[in-house]
């Protein structure tokens, strides 16, 4: 049982998120279908965005430019956001772990791939490479854009993640019990499964939760620049149209920030707050796990 304080805080925050994910859509004050309402006629005309209000229409987070209730959007977007982040991080680790294990001896082609991958993508900020890669023309109109973008976001940091695991694996490979395992005559597969992986698992777990936070951070940053993961093309007139965000995931609500931050700061503030809450939750879990594993190792 993990008794670290930060792990308990993180886990209860995560529990809260799960409750919101499951029970959220059935809560009485959450609209099941998001309605657009740009104009209201109560004591004169007023136009969206409407500021947060607790009475009248229950809109604790206010509405966006189209008059959609932000609170409902954020509640409904929870599931999608969390799964998106989980999915990206899982792809990242599924690629990074085998690559790291294959290059554990610090030589060979896999090691070369891993280090150059890490070096290239750590030379420029992650957000930078993400923007440049996601702006490639055949991704913008591809039918499978969402999948391609998810894979790109996962691949960008495979090098970093793999390199961390590889470095720790290298330290493990110099331990006496691993040497003993080799001398006894274990097959490589057996060696990896029973000697390296158990030793690396704690740090992989810790880094996984840290990475969930990093992925969400990256998605949030992209959302700020109105680069969305799921988008679709809407034609508005005979010869013009617009790419619109088609989902309620939190990062995509941030897309309007630049134009609305002065006029209606709540449109930016509440989705960013939700993202911050989730990132903090992953961060606490990660830190708690790290403290737990280091204490266990010392004991």
């Amino acid at each position: 049982m993990i008794k670290e304080k930060s792990f308990i805080i993180g886990a209860s925050m995560f529990l809260f998120l799960i409750v919101v994910m499951i029970a959220g859509p059935y809560m009485p004050f959450v609209d099941k279908e998001i309605k657009e309402e740009t104009l209201r006629m109560e004591d004169g005309f007023s136009r969206a965005p409407f500021p947060p209000s607790l009475s009248g229409p229950f809109e604790p987070f206010g509405t966006d430019m189209l008059g959609r209730d932000l609170f409902s959007m954020i509640v409904l977007g929870t599931t999608e956001t969390i799964f998106l982040v989980l999915f990206i991080t899982m792809i990242r680790y599924v690629i990074a772990i085998p690559l790291a294990l294959a290059s554990i001896k610090q030589k060979g082609p896999f090691y070369w791939i891993l280090t150059s991958w890490n070096n290239v993508f750590s030379a420029i900020p992650t957000i930078f490479s993400a923007i440049i890669l996601m702006n490639l023309p055949f991704f913008i109109f591809s039918e499978h854009r969402a999948i391609i973008v998810i894979v790109i976001l996962a691949l960008i940091e495979v090098g970093r993640v793999g390199y961390i695991i590889q470095q720790e694996g290298y330290l493990v490979s110099n331990e006496l019990y691993v040497q003993a395992g080799i001398t006894v005559g274990n097959r490589p597969r057996h060696l990896y499964l029973n000697y390296y992986l158990p030793a690396l698992l704690p740090s992989i777990c810790t880094n996984f939760f840290m990475d969930l936070g990093r992925v969400l951070l990256l998605i949030g940053q992209l959302g700020l620049f109105s680069i969305f993961i799921e988008q679709s093309w809407i034609q508005l007139s005979a010869g013009a149209g617009e790419i619109q965000n088609m989902s309620y995931n939190w990062a995509s609500i941030l897309g309007e920030t630049r134009t609305t931050i002065r006029k209606a700061p709540w449109i930016t503030f509440f989705p960013a707050l939700a993202i911050t809450f989730t990132i903090l939750c992953f961060y606490f879990i990660g830190e708690g796990l790290r403290a737990h594993f280091t204490r266990k190792q010392r004991a």
């Binding site: 150059s116 070096n119 290239v120 750590s122 030379a123 420029i124 900020p125 992650t126 957000i127 930078f128 923007i131 440049i132 890669l133 702006n135 490639l136 023309p137 055949f138 109109f141 936070g213 969400l216 951070l217 949030g220 940053q221 700020l224 620049f225 109105s226 680069i227 093309w233 034609q235 005979a238 010869g239 013009a240 149209g241 617009e242 790419i243 619109q244 920030t257 630049r258 931050i261 002065r262 700061p265 930016t268 503030f269 960013a272 707050l273 993202i275 911050t276 990132i279 903090l280 961060y283 606490f284």
Partner: protein
Amino acid sequence: MLARNLLKALLMYSVVMILIVLIVFFPRKLDVMLVDGVMQFGYSFSWGQYYENLKQFTTYVIENKSLGVVNGWLTVEETLKVFLPQSLKVIIAAFFISIFVGLYKGIFDYKQSSRRTNFLGNGTTFIIQAIPDFFLIILMILTIITFFPFIPIFSQGEWYSFIIPAIIVSIYPTLYIARITSTQVSNEEGMQYIQVAKSKGLTNRMVLYRHMLRNCYGTILSHCSTVMLLIISNLLMVEYLLGYKGAAYRLFEALSHSTVITVGQRHNFEGELIIGICFCFLVLVLISRIISELASNYLDPRRNESI
């Protein structure tokens, strides 16, 4: 060893630059057609077009000794001369703020760590570090708008207008340095040289600043390149949100990421300018990398002992 590391770094940044050039000159021509009033998109990739783009660029660079022309009349170099100084001011100011304020915050955190007020030191650093950088930036901007409306954050006319963006940009890197400083200093704790220094009757302050910190400078400054990366990625967001007309802002414009597409629209993707700005940023990161390498090689007073 140092020369080898530096050469390796130089080689790596050249590879990154070449990759950026290769990505930028990817054929981007989109065919938009109206079929019965419905817009249809066609994109076909051809190696011939790709090769043509790259060839055109290289011959232009060789013949004119310039990266290219932006908007039909200014060269990339002239555009950079306008936008880059604005960003450089912010970057350099933010860099020094992060290193110096970060160091002092780290020392403060270390001093608090044995007291009851630990939450003021390591606690605040831990929490603020965990908060995403864009949320910090948004919060800063919102606070200034609501509580200090007399501070002109959206204007850029005065010589001092780089200060506010520099402060906003440097929050996150500052805390990064603070965290490293405080862990490094506490790692030194309990070393014998500290006991010796104390037994000679030096004050705690002297021991901390003259002895412990000097052993840490090398490791702390070796994180310069990470700090520079953090600054540049924050700069991108701050310039975009504040409308501060610097190189990062211009870069985003050059990418011409627009959500609206019309038939017959000219695509404003300014590849040459993107290459120019990326080159400048990479040079900055390279310089910070050189500082890191030099620091980890020459600043540690114990560097000759282990040999």
